[in-house]
Every structure is written in structure tokens, then in C-alpha cells.
Amino acid sequence: MLMRRQIVLTLALMPITFGLWYAAGPLFAAPAVWLCDIALGHLYPTLVDTAGLLGAELQLTTQFGESAGQILPAKEAGNQVALEINTRLVSYSIAFYGALLLASNVQDSLYKFCTGLFWLWLIMAIGLASIAGKDLLLLVGEPFLSTELVPPADVIALTYQFNVLLMPTLAPVFLWFWQLQGSPLWEQLAADISRASGRA
């Protein structure tokens, strides 16, 4: 019964949380972009120049350039290749998480939302880095793969699949479940789990 209420309320709240998330534009993505800039700048200084927000897009300026259809180091090419990544591909997890948490009868919901937001920004930053990795693999190819600390193509494909196609929906569910402890729904689920485990 409580689970049914949770799902119905989540569905009812989704138009509101998604509307707020869309209206806020780059606001919800900004901390993740900042984290991504710091991480990629430190790990791959020979690949990434800067990463910043341009509207709701992450603009990643690379250390590669293009000349006569060839990808070259930026200094040789005299220009820099920049990637534009739609941050909403990962930031919609915040809208989903907001709907899940608001639909639950949890105490200190604002504090819990802020804690969850912090974790989601970390996960979003990894997701944005995974998109950048996939785009660089397709655009730059071998010079990118031969750079130090860059994982093999298969690993890049797997991390993209995991961090971009799965984590934006899975991470909010895990955070919500973790923060559900002490709520009536948690008690009901705990009773089900206890019975199912044969300990009731």
C-alpha cells in the first residue's frame, strides 16, 4: 500500500520536479561541470584544456586541433577542437531523485536532499567525463587512445554505457533507498525483507 502511494506520488510529482529542473537550466549541472573540469584537467592535462558551461552544455576545449581534415596537436593545427556535451543527459537524475524523495514521508528531507545532491554531482561528473571519453574516442581516435592514463576503447564504451545510460536512473533509486531508513515505507520494506529472508 505504501509502495503504491510512493509510486503514484512520484509520478504525480515528476512534472513539477522536471519542470523546475528544466527551468533552472545550467544551475543543477554547474557543480558537476566544475568537478569534471578539475578532474580532467589534473588527470589529462595533455588532452583537456578547459571545461566550462555554455548554457546547459558542457564545452570541453581539447588540446587537439584540426587541419585539412586531420587531427593534430593544437599547437601544430593552430586551433583547438571543442566538444559540446548536453549536461541534461546526466542531470535529469536530480529531478528523478527529487520526485522520489518528495514522495516519501522522510524526516529532514531538505538535509537529505542536499546530501543526495552532493553524491549526484559526483556521479554526474563521472558521467560527463564518460561522455567526453566516448566523444574523444570517436573524434580523435588513436592519438587519444595512446595518451597516458587513457583506458582501452572497450573500457571507455563500458563506462559510457554504465555511467550515462544507467547511473542517472539507478543512482537516485539507491540514494533514495539509503535515505528512506526510519520512514513508514522503510519499515514495511524491512518487514518484507525480513520475512523473505526467513527471519520473521
Partner: protein, 166 residues
């Protein structure tokens, strides 16, 4: 809880890795995705004679609009999450098998609704199509997985005393 998490993540990463392998893609994933396109077409045809399936592509013969069912759109990832959850939770092998088959069908049923809805949304308004495709449907599919898992827990709880008695 830690045991559940470790098994869940282990099964999730293993199945994801397997799904990405070329032989698995060629022998299982691609034919399955083609089957989804054919099934969607078969469901639409009684109401709309203009739709045709070409491999993984669903096409409207009149407008020329087409949707291609790619990785991440075939419901396999959602099914993997559900399988990992079911595998990680303590239950008998029989219960796990029943839950995986039923859960897979449940997830795929909603996924076919997703494919058909996207096919028509795309012909109506591309912005709405993008919204549903990129943001809303992934969330709805994950909610579907959550519902199936909650039903599974409830079902296990109901069956537990009977299982102990036998």
C-alpha cells in the same frame, strides 16, 4: 545489506560486460532488438497499416519517419538491473528464476509501450520526442524495475512461511 550490494554490483558489472561483447551482441542482443521492432510493428499494424519494420528500425511508410532501437533503448540494461537485484537477494533458485522471467517480461512490456509511444511522438513533435526519449522514459522504466522488485519482495515475504513449513 553489504552482501546484497556487493553481489548486486558484481552481477551488474559482469552482465554489462557480457552484453558489450561482440559475440553476445551478434548472437543475442541484435536479434532480440530486431524482435522488439517486429513485435512493436505487429502490435501497431491492426491500427496503422503504414508502419514497417526493417531490422531494428521502425518506419512510417507515408511520412518516412523512423526510429532505430539502439543500445539503451532495448530494455536490456533495465532487465540487467532487475536480474542483479533478484540474484543478490536471498531466495531459492526456483523463486529467482520465476522472478527473472516474469520481471523481464514486465520490463519488456513497458519497453514496447515506450518504443511505440516514441514512434508516434517523433512524428508529432520532435522536442517532445527528445524529452520523452532522453529524460522521461528512462525514469519510467527504472520505476518499473523498482515496482517489479518491490512486488518480488512482497511475494517472497508471502511465500516464506509456506516454504519453511515444507
Amino acid at each position: 545489506m553489504l552482501r546484497f550490494l556487493l553481489i548486486f554490483i558484481g552481477v551488474l558489472v559482469t552482465l554489462f560486460g557480457l552484453e558489450m561483447l561482440n559475440p553476445v551482441q551478434n548472437a543475442v542482443i541484435q536479434p532480440f532488438t530486431g524482435l522488439l521492432a517486429s513485435l512493436s510493428t505487429a502490435l501497431i499494424l491492426p491500427f496503422d497499416q503504414d508502419v514497417i519494420a526493417q531490422g531494428r528500425v521502425l518506419r512510417d511508410a507515408t511520412s518516412g519517419f523512423a526510429v532505430s532501437i539502439e543500445s539503451g533503448c532495448n530494455g536490456v540494461e533495465a532487465a540487467i538491473v532487475l536480474i542483479a537485484g533478484i540474484a543478490a537477494f536471498p531466495a531459492t533458485l526456483n523463486q529467482k528464476c520465476v522472478a527473472i522471467v516474469a520481471g523481464f517480461l514486465f520490463v519488456q512490456a513497458l519497453n514496447i509501450v515506450r518504443i511505440i509511444s516514441l514512434f508516434y511522438l517523433g512524428q508529432w513533435n520532435y522536442t517532445v520526442f527528445e524529452w520523452f526519449h532522453l529524460y522521461l522514459w528512462p525514469v519510467l522504466i527504472m520505476l518499473d524495475v523498482l515496482v517489479v522488485f518491490a512486488i518480488y519482495l512482497h511475494w517472497l515475504g508471502k511465500n516464506a512461511p509456506a516454504a519453511e513449513a515444507t
